[in-house]
Symmetry: C2
Subunit: 151 residues, 2 copies
DNA sequence: CTTATTTTGCAACTATGTTGCTTTTTTAAT
DNA sequence: ATTAAAAAAGCAACATAGTTGCAAAATAAG
């Protein structure tokens, strides 16, 4: 899927639009953090965000902003086995207010970027008698498109 | 699967056997922690273990013991979205030295116990062009057998 | 039983996450 | 545009989680 890189203005408009649509005040911090998610494909951990925004914002503000975004369904969390919650933007289908994110997540072992594979749907599973599942998370580990050895 | 509850002695023998098989010194701490895993079905987070063993062992010892067990393939980690690494015993098939754990994990939203569903195999997935996956983790959320509303 | 090796405990430290309260910014109404 | 009410950000203090180096204790091997 090749698409023209968005201009800063476009990203900014998109950030504002997301905040407006979710009845959130438009603030520098929220726009800054949304920019980070809009500018790149991967998921971000709290620590990544803290590093990227530099000293500009208080740690507490970042925590609260991420929590707000999760509550509003703007971003979703991705389970990891390394004790760092990762967050990724919900795609348009999700952002109505409630989450869907029935897609698979992919962690590249080379570049350590976490991708949302929106086209890979989590498969249906048959559970043992007595277990009722309401939600299934799938995290795949491997080598991503960009880190694939060239031939 | 109904099986007779193991006696304390049996569990203790089993713990010793696991340590011996993995060339680990037999110490009180390691046996104590192995007991916790052998005595019950669910996965344990570091915090759970710290609470259960009481003041008997240093926090650092617990961290190091868990790390040792993971390295030896005695236990494996389970990804979560709530920033707490959970550990579960590897079943016999896994414990040779390298991990398999191709099974699904199940987190009960009522009792918050994490189960290894050893009989539910992680399904094969078709990834987008360029992505090569080496390992897939599946975590299901729902209501477990014990918490299921009775009829 | 003694020695070499491994493990544990301790102390100090870093990182991560939370809460209450004050100040600042944003919004919305004049 | 000004201003009052509401929301967000910053600050400080705290709580929890995880790491590292080193000394003391326990274990394994001879």
């Amino acid at each position: 899927m090749i698409m023209a890189k968005q201009t800063v203005v476009q990203i900014d408009n998109q950030a504002t639009e997301i905040l407006t649509r979710n009845n959130l005040s438009i603030t520098g911090g929220r726009k800054r953090i949304l920019h980070l998610f809009l500018e790149q494909a991967g998921a971000l951990a709290h620590g990544d965000i803290e590093k990227k925004v530099g000293e500009k914002f208080d740690r507490v503000t970042i925590y609260r902003t991420l929590q707000t975004f999760v509550d509003k369904g703007i971003i979703h969390t991705i389970p990891t086995a390394d004790n760092s919650i990762r967050y990724a933007l919900c795609k348009d289908e999700c952002s109505g207010g409630h989450h869907h994110d029935h897609h698979v997540h992919f962690v590249c072992t080379v570049c350590h970027i976490t991708y949302c594979l929106d086209d890979v749907v989590t498969p249906a599973l048959k559970f043992p008698k007595g277990y009722t599942s309401s939600h299934v998370e799938v995290v795949a580990e491997g080598v991503c498109r960009n880190c694939k050895p060239q031939h």
